[in-house]
Subunit: 461 residues, 4 copies
């Protein structure tokens, strides 16, 4: 009998799952969790990690990032390498990148091109969304090619899309939904009725509203903008049985509409970002364009309802909408011209760990919203999203006692400005492991490009 | 003291209101109900009507008819005279005519032209809808001019409208809704998502579906078509506080959506037509194009839910969508080309009286759905919709014991074909009084054009 | 032809109904409303009342009073004469007296005795409740004898009842409910779980709570006391189909339970008294035993929810629980010994008129909760509860502009102490007419004992 | 380094959890799961079990059995040894025994006596319920002594209890609930309003109903009997925050009431037994007294709703109410005298495995309702109810392909009669392991008395 030698052996840590916390060792071999046990005595491993006093979480999954790659006119903001370094530093082992890159990720050729870039540059695992556009015939080849799911960006103007592609009508969408439902993929939806946005914006501009008063940004996109889009997508989901996910949910009423729909059996989930559960209209005077995101950050009661939903289960998961822009794009412009978005993939897990430390949410629930639920929604579970024997060895080790302050300088993104700069937090990832290989440790990103694998419901990685 | 002489004195009848049935005399003077009393002894009147054994109802209000006037290319189907004769013969004393005439009723000039025709030709009272189109600036002048309310015909293709007018976007509609809400008018909504209709129709045509199989008509407009449109209009209503009415509601799920919205405080009402509460997919083989109406007549469970809603109060009122076409337009064409609609204003009250006779609905509730609620929704109450002293003398006397058979020949419309031909009914209006003048009696229409007045929430008639 | 002469002719007033306000004359003959008309010219009447500037309401109905008659040991508190004088002075034309008198109104013999007293002494119309006790066989004879409905006083200790009668078990109650449902009578329920009350009281007493701290009264009867009793009665009502009315509803959660049950089709109504919609725990320090009523007056949010329910329709009607006691019984005792109850029949209508003047409720809704709905619940409508031609001439004329101050001295009850003393109100009844005869006018009770008739669902008066 | 030798090594099986199915080995040491891994190569164990083709489940937990021990007048029906042999043969590794034994398990002395018997005789783990009676002071000492939770048997007549103990009033119960809530124990509730049962029974007997017509048993205990008791217990639970479990739920309406309460935040769970989800009123003619259980088995729609609830999550778990009686007690008597209950602990898991084989429920959900949820409700999780490394080694290995027929003869209970005799099933436990020791294997019970440990929320075993 030959002797077993594991690649990694993690001992003395507290393993967290939604079901509870257990103290066992984990042994990793060939990129997978090979063993869990009470007594590590006698085990051999290339590297033994003593996680004494630390918590061991399934690696975070952020299902909404913009790493801006490919795109000659975009990659000054971020690319797959810098973005994935930020992810690794934030304890995120899998990201889902949005399709609004150049060329747009809306057909197989463009998808393959994007995929080749991620294969080469990405430190962490990646799912690549395909764009849902007017032509339902595009949908099946993209699933065959390995897309992770679809993005219906109701906020995209048609002129952004190449080759005369445009947003779908209801009937076009319905056909696409049917095909997607048939394979149990999910569609993530940016829910804004842009016609209403255009209207409110024009009204505010006409009224001569100060271009630097970012409260106007919220007034230009009140919650009904979101409600209208959710109502539309629910009709199509109910009609076709296709699963939909409302990404970056922003309003209390939107959440109520979703909770109601869930009760009636609609196949809908929703996701909230740290920007939306942290900030509110109270913060526009201080932050201005820095927190111009879309849908807009709304009122304190919206912010509180979204957080409450994360805690009580009404909100399914966290996704950041990590969307880097240059400082000029964020700070030199009016409330209507400032490019929407902010970075977030590196701070997402620390922010919620801090809240766990404050007793606002349990660590078990943190694992649910950061890992398990995204893995389930996107068809990766149980290979991703949990720490079972046999699962991929995507592991984040966190020190819940570490007190630190978020700074721009610490951000690994090309765009280092973060609205969370100065936040004093307790709890931080201290090691990130992707597919069994250490990607981040001792404050340094040590992972290598190409380690991450592409994920999708076909589970062919 | 000079002696009082009434114009009409109706004695010995049973006066029906939603609150109950009472046996008093009614005296009419100058177009109004001047007196109600226990003992008519000693009263003088130009005409005394002995309603012994009969029921006295507030005149019926049908808030959805197409009298096709004006319109050189339309009036071969119906005109204000023939349509209003049919109304009088059916116990309907007030009709609301739809704006899709020629010229379209979408600006003050066209409205005034249409009004002049009704002043001249109409036997019964009339409300004239204005078309809701893309330009919100049209809305206020139309209310000033006396429109009864607005029609948003989500089923109208843009090319039907003159002068490059078109259907509104959400933001255009929102502005119009606000203006309409400010004066507490109501918008009646033809709720169909035409994009979905186009899609299903094309699919069915592509599949080579038999042009004479009218079941395909229903398949081309399944209930989701209605749900999508109701969801859209609810968003706008909730946003603006504007009252909306879903006309010719056709589906069980649509009704559920409305009931739900009512519970949450939405300002929505709905209305069902006899075609939809009588027929179902079971009847297409027999009737074919004759029951091609839009939205489509759906399944037996839809039909039953609509009727049940009428009985239990979830449905607010009855409106017929009386929509005459020539025989050729109804019977010579495919399920997609057959012009949608059927006559109904003359049979609406008899059909529901028959159901009252069968114990399926109370006479009190009949008065509610046929008179009181439409009067309230459209801002006419209590001048219309009830038989209070001081109200307009719009009165329908019905013989609940009269057994008869509906025939095409008896229809007063230009288009005499009715799908209810052959129905054996018990209960029928025997006298219709409009503004204190007898319009129908002994099977004959005796009213004179010009007696009807124009009604609207301004109550300036 | 002989000449008609009416008994009363009321002209120039504004007649209020739930459906609106109309300006017509009313003519009264032989105790009934004989005529309503636009033009009173030429009419003859024994007395003409000019109600210029006044509102004409259907007489108020208070379905919960204790006139303490008969009862040698009770009538020092009130009797049918003094109680009904107070009613007349308050614009109340029909009262429902509770059965906890001596002898208890729980069998036909006792009922007949009580009836004979009311026939002799009562100025206004009266319904007499029968006690629901353990023996279901008592129920039918009492309906035959003319009881107005039943009272299940879940708060009555068994030892109050004579002849070993006691409160019913669920099964005994179920049989009674069935018999009562078969004749569509209603049961009014004092909803308190006395076992819970006993427990909380004992706890508070044990804790040495100050006998004069009346906040303890509320703590001894928290809302769950009511919830438990409502839940119990709903089960029995749902089981048997018997209508129940929760009298003197006291809590927000109780109201929520009832609203929920209504939505599911339960045959339940509820009623709130002025004490409960006016006072709250904030008022115990000032009023002490004066507002010791049962169920207890609860917190400000309960008070507000009850009032809001009266306005929005969730609460069906107003009933006072007019329950006089001597000053000593109200003020010399501890929070547990103070006799529960306060007078209210004379101030009920003025208090709500004042709120109508403040725009907190419409006059139409006032008529609904004070007259129409009680008449419907107790099977008197439309002979009572409305001003239709043919209805009984129970009429209250109110001056909405009259400003006045409530004083003990003005109370017509034997017990003149009222917690509303000092309240400055706008709006007051200035004339009360019972069965066509003036009972109250110019601040004086002028009605005669014996004018009131006994009312019940048999409508045999 | 000394060599690790496990007690058991289970290889090649499919481990089932609510989250999915995984194929790993499990290693057991000292009564616990010591290791889970992908590759068992090189591991040493006293015994290696090859589970090729088999499924490995966390051992079943049956939270409602009557093993009739102690009790000189009871143990002819069953005892802790025979009962636990049946459990082991049925794949059940933990049972909760009911307190209605002799002496009654209502104080510490009696509890200790019962505990000593189970320590000596029980093959499987056991939780021992304490009786909830009138004296709240009994509650805390019983939790200190190690009871698993409380049973409120609303169906117990007072005369069954010794020493003048009796069922609690609401206020007594409320105090007990508070004390139990403070330690987060749960109360399981037999929900029947016995007053209603007595009434219906008497009515049916009076009517001369055939003593052998067991349909009368259902008529004597219609669903309202259950509703009344659930409503009562919900009030107390909501008041005190104490968790309650409705055991042997029997009706669709009861389930609806519970689902409703859960939505509103009530701390209520419910449990259904195989008798209730298998049989209905259709089966009384065939089975008679054999399926006389309490609450009664109701109509097919109740049966179907209960099963549907088990599948969709509305019902939390399965519990059998294993309640053995002699043949004479089951078959020689009338519908009112037949002792209620039937055996079930041995057939519970096989019956639901068969349904999983038929695709009616997933194996994952089977684990949830048979193991995980009972462990959570009763505070045993994650030591019991799952197969995590570190959990107790309570393991059931099932062969999902094994086809067999249930027979009386195969039952290990003293009372061998089972209504499931003749049922042809596919799927059966083939090995049961309790605390790391094999208790059942190859159709033989091989476990030894005393292996089972006593369980409770204190987790002190
Ligand atoms: Zn977006
Ligand atoms: Zn985005
Ligand atoms: Zn239409
Ligand atoms: Zn139409
Ligand atoms: Zn009371
Ligand atoms: Zn009272
Ligand atoms: Zn039981
Ligand atoms: Zn039991």
């Amino acid at each position: 009998m030959s002797e077993k030698v594991f690649d990694l052996l993690i001992i003395n840590g507290k393993i967290v799952s939604p079901e509870g916390i257990r103290e066992n060792y984990l042994a990793v071999k060939d990129g997978k969790i090979a063993e869990e046990g009470v007594n590590p005595e006698g085990l051999k491993a290339t590297r033994v990690i003593d996680a004494k006093g630390k918590y061991i979480l399934p690696g975070g999954i952020d299902d909404h990032v913009h790493f801006r790659d490919p795109g000659d006119d975009l990659t000054y903001k971020e690319d797959a390498l810098t973005g994935s370094r930020a992810a690794a530093a934030g304890g995120i082992t899998t990201i889902f990148d949005m399709p609004n890159v150049h060329p747009s990720c809306l057909n197989v050729k463009n998808f393959e091109f994007k995929k080749s870039i991620y294969e080469e540059k990405c430190l962490v695992n990646y799912g690549l969304y395909a764009f849902l556009v007017e032509d339902p015939e595009l949908v099946e080849p993209l699933m065959d090619a390995g897309c992770a799911g679809f993005k219906w960006d109701m906020g995209t103007p048609d002129n952004v899309l190449p080759d005369h592609h445009r947003m779908p009508t209801n009937s076009e969408a319905a056909v696409a939904f049917q095909k997607i439902a048939a394979r149990d993929y999910c569609i993530t939806i940016h829910a804004e009725d842009m016609d209403l946005v255009k209207f409110y914006t024009a009204e505010l501009q006409k009224s001569g509203r100060d271009p630097k008063d970012f409260l106007a940004h919220e007034e230009a996109r009140p919650d009904v903008v979101e409600l209208s889009a959710i109502a539309r997508s629910l009709i199509l989901s109910d009609l076709t049985g296709c699963r939909i996910n409302i990404t970056h949910l922003s309003s209390k009423k939107g959440l109520e509409m979703i909770v109601d729909a869930k009760r009636k059996g609609s196949k809908i989930t929703c996701e909230v970002g740290p920007s939306w559960y942290t900030f509110s209209t109270d913060d526009y005077p201080k932050y201005g364009g820095a927190i111009r995101v879309v849908p807009a950050i709304h009122h304190p009661e919206d912010r509180d309802a979204l957080w409450e939903g994360l805690v009580n289960g009404d909100v399914d998961m966290v996704g950041t909408d990590h969307a880097p822009h240059s400082l000029e794009e964020k700070f030199e412009k009016s409330w209507w011209d400032t490019l929407p978005g902010t970075i977030g993939v590196q701070t997402s897990l620390p922010l919620i760990l801090d809240r766990a430390n404050k007793g606002q949410i349990s660590l078990e629930r943190v694992v649910e919203v950061m890992s398990e639920k995204p893995a389930k929604v996107w068809g990766l579970y149980p290979r991703k999203g949990c720490l079972q024997v046999g699962s991929d060895a995507d592991i984040t080790i966190v020190d819940m006692d570490l007190e630190w302050t978020v700074t721009h300088a610490e951000m690994k993104s090309k765009t280092q400005y973060t609205p969370f700069d100065g936040f004093q937090l307790k709890g931080k990832p201290v090691m990130t492991i992707v597919m069994g290989q250490v990607a981040y440790e001792n404050g340094e990103v040590v992972g290598k490009p190409g380690v991450g694998v592409m994920v999708n419901p076909k589970k062919e990685w």
